[in-house]
Subunit: 213 residues, 2 copies
Amino acid sequence: MNKEKISKSVIRRLPRYYRFLSELETNNIDRISSGKLAEIMRTTASQVRQDLNCFGGFGHQGYGYSVPKLKSEIENILGLNNRFKAVLIGAGHIGTAIAAHMKFEALGFNLVGIFDNNRDILGSKIGFLPIRDVETVGDFCRSENIQAAFLCIPRASAKGVVEKLYNAGVKSFWNFTHYHIQGDFPDAIVENVHLGDMMMTLCYSMNEKEEKV
Amino acid sequence: MNKEKISKSVIRRLPRYYRFLSELETNNIDRISSGKLAEIMRTTASQVRQDLNCFGGFGHQGYGYSVPKLKSEIENILGLNNRFKAVLIGAGHIGTAIAAHMKFEALGFNLVGIFDNNRDILGSKIGFLPIRDVETVGDFCRSENIQAAFLCIPRASAKGVVEKLYNAGVKSFWNFTHYHIQGDFPDAIVENVHLGDMMMTLCYSMNEKEEKV
DNA sequence: TAGATTGTTAATCGATTAACAATC
DNA sequence: TAGATTGTTAATCGATTAACAATC
C-alpha cells in the first residue's frame, strides 16, 4: 500500500471521495464508473482514476468500482478505523462547539479529555467529559497515552500549552490558533484551521466580483 | 490593479502575508526584504516577490518593502476595508461560536442578523444580536440588502435555506455544511469549511507516521 | 464476442524556484 | 559609487488532463 509518497493534493481529496461514496452507499448504489463519480464530485474521470491508482487497482475494467469496497479502502487509507486518543484544550466558544459537534469516532479519534484555564468552569461538563484544569494536562496525557490535541485557545497561550503537550508525548495537533507550531516543533504533525483567513478569502472574492460589475 | 486573473494559490496566501505583516507592524518593524519575509513565512524569496508582483511593484530595489505600505496594500487587495453585510444561519454550537468569536469587522464583514429555526431560542441574544426566526430571513435580507450568509446549519436544511437566501439577493456563502451550493447555484461565491475533512487528513498523517515506525 | 471502462503512459498546464539585469 | 534587493524572465517541478492499449 505504501508505494511512493502520495501527494498532499491527493490526500486532501480523499475525504471528499469518502463522503460521496458514503452517500452512494446509503442510496444503495453498488457500483460506479470513474466518469460518473467524477461528475458527482465535479472533477474529471482522469483525476479519479489517477487518484485511486495511487493506492492500487480498486476497479474492474469494463465494470467500474464497487462502491462499498472503494469506500472501505479509502476508510483504511485514511485510517478512520483508528481511535486516536485526543484531548481538547480550551473550552471557549470554538472548543465547546468542536467538542459537542464533531463525530470524532467516525473521523479516527476518541476525545477523552477537555481542559481549560478558567477556574470558574472547571468540573462542569461538555457531553460526558468534565472540564479539567489545564495545569494537569501533562500528567493526564502521559498516563492516558494521548496522541493528539485540538487547540482551541488564544494564540498567546498556545506556545506554552504545546510545549507541555509535546513533552508529554503528544505530537499531533489540530490547530485553531495562529501560533506556528512547526516553527518550534518541526517534527509535529499539524493541521491548521485558519477561519479568519477563509473569511478574508471570501471577502476577496466578493470584492473582486463587485469590481467587475 | 486588475491586470490578469490572479491565481487561487496566490489569493490563499494573501491572508498569511497580511497576518505576518500586521505582526511586524506591531513590533515596529518598518521595512523588510523578500528574503526575510520569506524566512518568517517559511517560503522562498522568489515566491514572495512573484506573489506581490501580481498586484504591482510595492517594493524598492536595494531597500525592500515598507511594512505599513505593504500591509495596507494587501488590506486593499483583500478588500478588508469593506463591511459586507452578512447574516448567520444556525445558532447551534458552531454558529454561536462563530458569531461570538470572529472579529468580523477586521475581516471585511458586518454581522447584522442571526437566524435559527428553534422556537425555544428565538429572541435570546448572542452578543448584541437577537436570534430571529429563519422563516423571516428572506424579507430581512431583502430589506437590509444582505450580501453574505454564514451557514452553520445541518446539511439537510441547507438547500432550502440557500434557495431562500439566494432569491433574496444573497449570493455569497461561508459554508460549514457539506451541501454543495455550487451544484445548484453555479454563480454563487462560496467558501467551504469542511472541518470533518480536515480531521480525516490529520488522521491520515498520524496513521502514515505510525506505519513508518 | 463486443462494449465498457479501467490502469497507465504521454501531453499539457500551472505553480514554484532560480537567475539576473535593472535600479535604488 | 558599491551593495543590496527588487521586478521579471527563464527553468524546473508537480499536478491535471488526455489518450489508448489492456482486459473484464
